[in-house]
Structures are given as C-alpha cells and as structure tokens.
C-alpha cells in the first residue's frame, strides 16, 4: 500500500513522528478496530481513531441518541436526537475522514452475537465503551476466548480507570472475578459523570489502540491506570495475571459466553 499525496498531507503530523512514519501510517490504514458503545467513551475514541486513519472502524451500539447523551457523547449533535447512535456516528466519521471504512452493528452485544461481530472483520483491537457490567464482562470473556486485545474503560463521577488486555496477560476478571453483587450497584444519586472526564478516558483508550497497532511504547498491559480528575491525580497500579482467574487462570471455569443480569437504575423514573 502506497500513501497518496493527499494522505501524505492529511497524516503529515503522524508521518513526521519518528515512531510512526509512513510505515506506521500504513499500519493504521490497514488496521481494524471495533468500538463497542458509541457513548461517552466510544465517541471521542471513534473520532480520534477515524482522524488517525484507522482503515476499518466497527461501531456496535443498539441505542438511539437521547438529549441527555449530548452532555458527553460528542460524536452526536442536537439534530441527531432520536436517530440510531451507529448512523449518527457514521455520518460524522465519514465526513471527518473518507479513508475510513465504517462498519455498523446496530445492536447491543450479547453472548449470542458478540463473537460474530468480532469475527465479522477479524478486528485487531476492541474498545470497551460500554457503561454496564454485563457488557464489560462479556467483552472481556469474548476477547479472552478469541485472544483479542481490548481496552477496558470505566468512569464514575470524577474518576476513571483503564487497563489494556493483551492476550496472555491480566484480564478484567483477574481483577474483578465476578459481576458486582445485586444491590451493590451505586444508586442514582451516586452516579453521574462530568462529560469531559469521559473524554479523557476515551482518548486514553484510543491512544492505547494506536500504540498497539503501531507496536510502540508500553501499553497499560498488567497495570491499571486510575485517575481522579478533582485532584487531577493519575497513578498506575501493577496487577499481574491471577492464576485463579475464572476465564484466563490455570483452571478456567468460564469456557463459553453467557449473558448476565444487572439491577438497573433509571434516572428518569427516579427523578
């Protein structure tokens, strides 16, 4: 693959980076990344990855854009309220960069479709941009079983956490073996998120994906980045793989995918 004149111009700030260069840019243009959830994390991640020239960008989301999403989900605009998040995302990403082939999966991920979605284009890297634990555990388990790297991201109020799973290393279940017990999910009054914090985290996740594709630097493999935006304090915690992990440990008990239930809090109903 040879870069066109226009591509050399478009990606010039990448190409002049010693660690990227024309070869690195070609890697990005040949890369396939799947983003699950076109929300607060997925939106900035998708925009930066499209701008970077990721050749194939899959977006999986089954929801429609709601007014309350716009405070943080910056890929969606006011006129998009009511349309599907996948279509809304595609409209922006294609305008941002026609080099990107945007593939849409207008559905939530479940145990019976996530493998097909990942295998659809044999994605190189997955970004977890979901907000709920059943989806987070499902993305982890599917990635471990298919040996696909992925970036976990979680936010709450003014804090965020992220770790990058590279096959053979620490996975999400090494840290959190099971879903939170019912009744232990924070109540509505304790939830909420400052929109820009989702932006910080989604941008970190996009950076991890780009580093992985380029093969440069050190990813957040075997360490969790935790930040508190009120104090603007970032730290990483080294976390080795757990031999007792139910999905990637020495004696895994999870060998196939299943769907989980989670008690929910509906902000609208509870006011």
């Amino acid at each position: 693959m040879n870069l066109t004149e226009e591509q050399i111009d478009r990606y010039s700030r990448h190409i002049i980076l010693k660690d990227v260069g024309g070869k690195g840019q070609e890697k990005l243009l040949n890369a396939k990344i799947l983003i699950v959830g076109a929300g607060g994390l997925g939106a900035p991640a998708a925009l930066y990855l499209a701008a970077a020239g990721i050749g194939t960008l899959g977006i999986a989301d089954g929801d429609k854009v709601e007014l309350s999403n716009l405070q943080r989900q910056i890929i969606h605009f006011t006129p998009d309220v009511g349309i599907s998040k996948t279509i809304s995302s595609k409209n922006k990403l294609e305008k941002l960069n026609p080099d990107v082939n945007v593939i849409l999966y207008d559905e939530r991920v479940y145990a019976d479709n996530i493998i097909d979605i990942i295998n659809d284009r044999d994605y190189d890297f997955i970004i977890d941009g979901t907000d709920n634990f059943p989806a987070k555990f499902l993305i982890n388990d599917a990635s471990v079983l298919l040996k696909k790297p992925f970036s976990h991201g979680g936010v709450l109020r003014f804090e965020g956490q992220t770790i990058t799973y590279i096959p053979g290393n620490t996975c999400y279940r090494c840290i959190f073996p099971e879903l939170p017990p019912k009744g232990a999910v924070p109540s509505c009054s304790e939830a909420g998120i400052l929109g820009a914090i989702a932006g910080i985290l989604g941008t970190i996740q996009a950076t991890e994906a780009l580093k992985y594709i380029l093969g440069i630097g050190d990813t957040l493999k075997n360490r969790m980045l935790i930040f508190d935006a009120l104090e603007m304090n970032f730290r990483t915690v080294d976390i080795g793989k757990s031999p007792d992990c139910p999905v990637c440990g020495n004696n895994p008990t999870i060998t196939e995918l299943k769907d989980y239930e989670q008690p929910v809090c509906d902000l609208k109903k509870q006011g």
Binding site: G37, A38, G39, G40, L41, G42, D61, G62, D63, E66, N69, R72, Q73, K85, R108, G129, T130, D131, N132, F133, K136, G153, G154, V155, L156, R157, E159, G160, Q161, I175, F176, P180, P181, A184, V185, P186, C188, A191, G192, I193, A198, M224, I226, N233, R235, V237, D238, I239, G240, S242, Q262, V264, C265, D266, L267, K268
Partner: protein
C-alpha cells in the same frame, strides 16, 4: 503505623489493623464492590477480616467503574 493507601501515605493510630478495618476507616461504602491489592497481591474477599497489615504495606482499593448512568443498555 504508616501505610500507603491508593498511593498516599496514611498514618493509622492503631498498630494492628485488618484489611476490613482499613476498608471501614476509608469509608468504603460497599466492601463487596472493592478488590484489594496488598503489596502487589490480591487479597481474597473472604479474608479481608483475617488479613492484618504491617508497617509500610502498600494497599490499593480497586472499584467497579461502569458508566455515569446505570440505565440498562446505554453506553457511557
């Protein structure tokens, strides 16, 4: 006793302290929701009360973090 909790030094009055007591001291509302790393090792949830801390131990509390809202199915 000096401990490093979530990257910050904490001076505890007590010299004998279990992981569970430290969790309570730090106002962790839902001990079921926290994974504890003690000197780079996981502490089994069932052993929080019987695991005692020593001077200069490094403890990290790792919390479940999902999204900013808990309405089922929507992305963050």
């Amino acid at each position: 006793m000096k401990l490093v909790v979530n990257g910050k030094t904490q001076d505890t009055e007590k010299n004998s302290l279990s992981v569970m007591e430290l969790i309570k001291m730090n106002n962790v509302k839902m001990p079921d929701m926290v994974t504890v790393r003690l000197n780079k090792k996981f502490v089994d949830k069932s052993k929080y009360s019987e695991t005692y801390l020593s001077e200069n131990d490094k403890i990290d509390f790792l919390y479940f973090m999902g999204g900013g809202s808990y309405k089922k199915g929507i992305a963050v």
